[in-house]
Symmetry: C7
Subunit: 96 residues, 7 copies
């Protein structure tokens, strides 16, 4: 099953930010805050402007993005917990 977002929405899968200490010891998940980073899995065609033209989104599939802790709607697809949100709820693209 795949989701094709509508309008200016994107489908995002949360990813854990790397949880290592300076010395490289991995801290178990439970000790870390729930991350608000994710990977864009699908993007909508864009929002239709007042002039009837569709404005394509800026982010693209595969982008690592930052978003607010409480942004978006959670949906379960094949056991995965995904988020559907508007592109405007994304703060920034993470450039590695």
């Amino acid at each position: 099953m795949k989701l094709q977002p509508l309008g200016d929405r994107v489908v995002v899968k949360r990813v854990d930010s790397e949880t290592k200490t300076a010395s490289g010891i991995v801290i178990p998940d439970a000790a870390a805050e729930k991350p608000d980073q994710g990977e864009v899995l699908a993007v909508g065609p864009g929002k239709t402007g007042d002039d009837g033209k569709v404005r394509a989104l800026t982010v693209k599939v595969g982008d690592r993005v930052l978003f607010g802790k409480y942004s978006g709607q959670t949906v379960k697809v094949d056991g995965d917990e995904l988020l559907v949100m508007k592109e405007d709820d994304l703060f920034a693209v993470v450039v590695k």
Copy 2:
């Protein structure tokens, strides 16, 4: 009786997401969350823009769609519980 939605509204019929475990055992309905998936039964002609032109909807009859748990208005038509909501309340089209 059939409903012809007005403006940018759609009529959606909730469908149960498949509730099987990996081993194929069907979990009875009561044990599963109420699904927020549905099938589009009818679509409105679209919203009239500021320029007086009608913008046709993106979804079409038969589309499997995802929407928020509390979206739309419930109406009963011939015993069926249907939902009428604006297209903007739909998150994504489910591509099987």
Copy 3:
């Protein structure tokens, strides 16, 4: 006395949805929920857009329409309880 709605308003008279069971037995009104169906008695000329042009309404007198339980303003005209609401408060036209 007749009402001529202003702008994009319509005058609607609630109608009871048919309250029969499968076997054809009519359930007395008090046992049924108050319906949110109605018949359009009068329509306004339409809303004036930003360009000064009037956009005619989509529904017409005689249409059977669906609307929210708490939509519109109740007015009493010659003993009849009528509803005045904006066309945007109508969800769908019922096609029999």
Copy 4:
């Protein structure tokens, strides 16, 4: 003293809806609900649109109009209690 409303406002004087029973007996005022009908006493020149043009109002002086129970601002002019409201607060014109 006369009031010249500004913009898209109108001055309305409440009128009692006719309070007769079927047999023609007039019910004294106190027994009837406060009416939400009125007569238009004065109309403003209209609202100025985004393009700087003034859109004249639809209702005119002398129209019998329907409005919400709590619409408008009450002002006292020469002992008369009048209402000033925006034309958009008027629901319909009563055609006798």
Copy 5:
């Protein structure tokens, strides 16, 4: 000290509505409601529209105006209590 209002604002000085009974006896101020009439002392140049043009106000200095009991901001200028409000908060011009 004089005030030059900005944008679509006006400076208004409350005036007591005439408080005489039919027989011409003046009722002392304390017995009367605080009036919501005033005289326009100064008007702003007008609001700048989306097209960058300034829309001049409709009211002018000296106009007797009606406004809501709680409209505007009170400022004290040389001991006088004045009101600064947007023109849209004015209901009507009083024509004597």
Copy 6:
């Protein structure tokens, strides 16, 4: 340190309204209300309209202005308590 406001913002320094009685006796500050007058120290370039053009502000550096008691954001610059607010929060220019 100097502040260059962004957009349609201005930097204002509160000034005490003159607190003398008719006989010229100066009332100590604590006895007077906190004034809502100020002097404009810096103005932003203006707001960008929908057409992408910048609309210059009306007030200029040195103007004595009136504003609401709770308008703007307080910032401390070199010990001085300044206010940053949008030009629209200014009511009027004081003409001495």
Copy 7:
């Protein structure tokens, strides 16, 4: 890891305002209020207007900016606490 803000957002790193007394004694951090100054680390491409054109931001990387105490969203990047906010949440550029 670097952040590329989306739309009209900027990434800001809080900086402590200089906390010296007149005599040059540095007050330890804990005794000073949390500052609301920061340095712009990254700027988005700008907001897309109704006409589909992107309006570039006014501030640029390296600008020292002033913003509200509770503006923006805190994100942690490589241990640094950064703020992502819309350019409109910035009050002024600090000119040293």
